[in-house]
Symmetry: C2
Subunit: 162 residues, 2 copies
């Protein structure tokens, strides 16, 4: 299954593996996985949640890795462009990809209560959206799919009657 965001898991391992995967991908594609870029990805992987650019920047600042917004935004731009991090448009925030390197169209399940975000897999070219695009001659290059709602935990706490 793709959706892993609402379950416990081996966190240290997932951070380590993701960094290794990105490192390998960068080497293979001659991309510069610089200290700032690596650190931003590490922060997002460790926190395992959607974070704003300025929140990330705060951490960088305490570590002497850059203190001005462009530093964070440039690193994020690199990571997003290469598919290692996704932007959650709805939250103006960023989250580490759960399977970096693989070509995919992410979809997100966002809890409005606790802000937890789970990454799932969308296939926008199939389904109604793809059909509508085909009908009108629109060429889809990229898609944002974000569902808002309640995660299992918060759903419980909202219904204490059970």
């Amino acid at each position: 299954m793709d959706t892993i965001g609402f379950e416990a898991h081996d966190h240290k391992g997932c951070v380590r593996d993701a960094i290794a995967a990105v490192e390998a991908h960068c080497t293979r594609h001659k991309l510069q996985f610089t200290p700032v870029r690596r650190r931003v990805l590490e922060i997002l992987l460790s926190e395992h949640r959607a974070m704003g650019a300025y929140e990330i920047l705060d951490t960088l600042r305490t570590e002497g890795l850059g203190s001005q917004p462009p530093v964070a935004y440039r690193a994020l731009d690199f990571l997003v462009t290469n598919g290692f991090v996704h932007k959650i448009e709805r939250l103006n925030a960023f989250i580490a990809c759960t399977h970096p390197g693989q070509d995919h169209t992410p979809a997100f399940l966002i809890c409005r209560q606790c802000d937890a975000v789970a990454e799932a897999h969308a296939e926008p070219s199939k389904g109604m959206l793809g059909r509508a695009a085909a009908d009108t001659g629109f060429t889809i290059e990229q898609a944002v799919v974000e569902a808002m709602g309640l995660c299992p935990q918060c759903r419980e706490s909202v219904h204490p009657c059970a």
Copy 2:
């Protein structure tokens, strides 16, 4: 068909009809369709494109209907909440709904070249997203579906070789 955004149409008529539909809906549901709210909707309907809040505010300002951001944002909030206007997260912009009053989950086709936006219809509960949500126990309340790409016209102009 739902997707009408890339084709010519009777524009005056569509503005008039939409306003009438919203007016009726507000009367039926005891909602206040005030001058500012009406004017913001008219602007969006007339322009028939995604507009930023401050761009709308500029127009209001010249008409003496309010000059501070909260005026525009409050009207937009009302219109979005009641489904008369949709927010395009990807553009931080707003667009009038093409079939107001009806309960629906909109999806958008956004041209990256000319910024034209077409509204289509999504059914997020079906398909992979709905399945992923069901699998994890996530309850979808609302969804953002936005496809970026090239509209038919811009696709032509990018490929002049044909």
